[in-house]
Amino acid sequence: MILVILDHDGSHLRKGALEAIARARQLSSLGNLAGLVIGENLGAVAEEARNYLPTVYTAEVGSYTPERWAAAAYAAVQKSGAQVVVVASSRQSRTWTARLALKMNAALLEDTLESSTDGSRVLASRYSFLNRVTEKQAAHLPVVLTAKPNTTPPAEPQGQGGIEALTVEQPGAQVEVLERVAEQKKGVSLSEATVVVTGGRGLGSAEAFAGVEALASVLGGAVGATRAVVDAGWRPYGEQVGQTGKTVQPSVYIALGVSGAVQHQAGMNKSKYIVAVNKDAEAPIFKITDYGVVGDVHQVLPALLEAAKKLKD
């Protein structure tokens, strides 16, 4: 049995859940599929999920803690006898799937780009060494696998499954959420954007980001920031691209005044096209750019904005 644990927003399945189903289907030679939704008031998402999977378990456990999610997933594993678990990869899922893998004494294949089976093992590829290396991994069952977002075409509906509620024992010690701080969000989501315009320390001030925002807006893209800029308090953490921020893979990544430390590259080096504007021709960013402009970002950025506006008119 292959268990797909379905990420949702309370009323709908997320895109990642459909990608996870598609991944699970690729492994169907290892067993039948079943789904699991975890949370509270799961009626609507379970109804949606049964359009994709022959069996859908529900685990009404309340709001998220890693301990609850792992316990719910493990209850479904025990109930279904699943030897493979597939989940969309995120910081949150990478936390509780590690707990789940340990409960199952399973191999954990994290943030995989693709996955397959040779009949007895699950094979997967993933990035390592700060996104610089691509590695192929193999593991015998049981296996817990997380699937990197935007790596698989989402699954299409198929059949009509049954819904079965699970009883999950509340885990012992767990975290208690005191307060949630929402991310400040404007315009296009950074992770989903096809154009990302990122400003670095080379911009010199928080005020200079007005130009970055304007260019992103004209190109229909999202604003990104480097860690230095976030540390300086010029931009919110939610915009940070890199090892300790977000990983993006847009059609074009425009880096303005960004030197391109390895930690930053870890969050953007798989972009389809990379553009950089920097006055230092030796900046590491130029090693990975398709189009680079060596020049003063304060002069080039307004000119880029004008040229982009003209193009869009």
Binding site: A98, S128, Q137, L219, G238, V277, V293, V300, A303
Partner: protein, 249 residues
């Protein structure tokens, strides 16, 4: 109180990676204490300085990890435990073995890095928590003890952040903003010589096998436009290339 940091040794960020025989070769590469683990080490030293007790560092890995443990001792950790195992060991198996030693130590809390700079894994912290039966807080940016039995922490989520209260013992993983790690000092290096570094040989079966590693760098066009003399012309050319050649805008 006792605070444990679990750490690893990884290639320096600027190290140029090479592949030999289908695996990343670390020969000639500068190896350092993983930057995110360094935050964990700094945090346990600070906790010990603020609340008393002991800051212990622990690692599971090859012989060379001793250097990273020594760095942590030179920063101010009190002693080190090194579970010596050569070769790749997946984080779940690591957690199972480390947990046995951690349980014997009975610490107030355990800290480790949010993501490993070599394997890009985020699993060690939460897997340790599971093996120990403790709660976990990942991507921690602030931590404050409230007595010996609970702590308040702020941590990053996929989007936004959360303030949580967590019963101790618990496992935390680090995130940028947690602290600014100190340098090891020369007196610290001298003193570290006399600190206990216990080695425990281990034979571990990895649940995951790394079949092949490659460096698949996307071929970049590397077109450079001189924007120093005429920034307007350079900007126009760039927009034209993105529109007509790359067709991405």
């Amino acid at each position: 109180m006792k605070f444990i940091a679990v750490l690893r040794q990884v290639p320096d960020n600027e190290a140029k990676l090479k592949i030999e025989g289908g695996q990343v070769s670390l020969g000639g590469v500068t190896l350092i204490l993983d930057g995110m683990d360094e935050w964990a080490v700094e945090e346990v030293i600070r906790l010990k300085e603020a609340h008393g007790g002991e800051a212990v560092v622990m690692a599971l890995g090859p012989e060379r990890f001793e250097e990273a443990l020594r760095t942590a001792l030179a920063m101010g950790a009190d002693r080190a435990v090194h579970l010596v195992a050569e070769g790749y060991v997946d984080p779940i198996s690591q957690a199972q073995h480390l947990a046995e030693t951690i349980r014997e130590e009975a610490p107030t809390l355990v800290f480790t890095g949010g993501q490993q700079a070599d394997w890009d894994s985020q699993a060690l912290g939460p897997a340790l928590a599971e093996a120990l039966g403790w709660p976990v807080v990942t991507w921690t940016t602030q931590l404050e003890l409230e007595g010996e039995t609970q702590a308040k922490a702020k941590h990053d989520l996929d989007e936004g952040a959360e303030l949580v209260r967590v019963p101790l013992p618990a496992v935390f993983t680090s995130q940028q903003g947690l602290n600014e790690p100190r340098y090891p000092t020369l007196p610290g290096i001298m003193k570290a010589k006399k600190k206990e570094l216990r080695k425990v040989p281990l034979s571990v079966q990895s649940k995951v096998e790394v079949l092949e590693q490659t460096i698949q760098e996307r071929q970049r066009l590397n077109q450079v436009i001189d924007g120093s003399k005429d920034p307007v012309a350079a900007a126009n050319q760039l927009i034209r290339l993105l529109h007509e050649e790359a067709k991405v805008i």
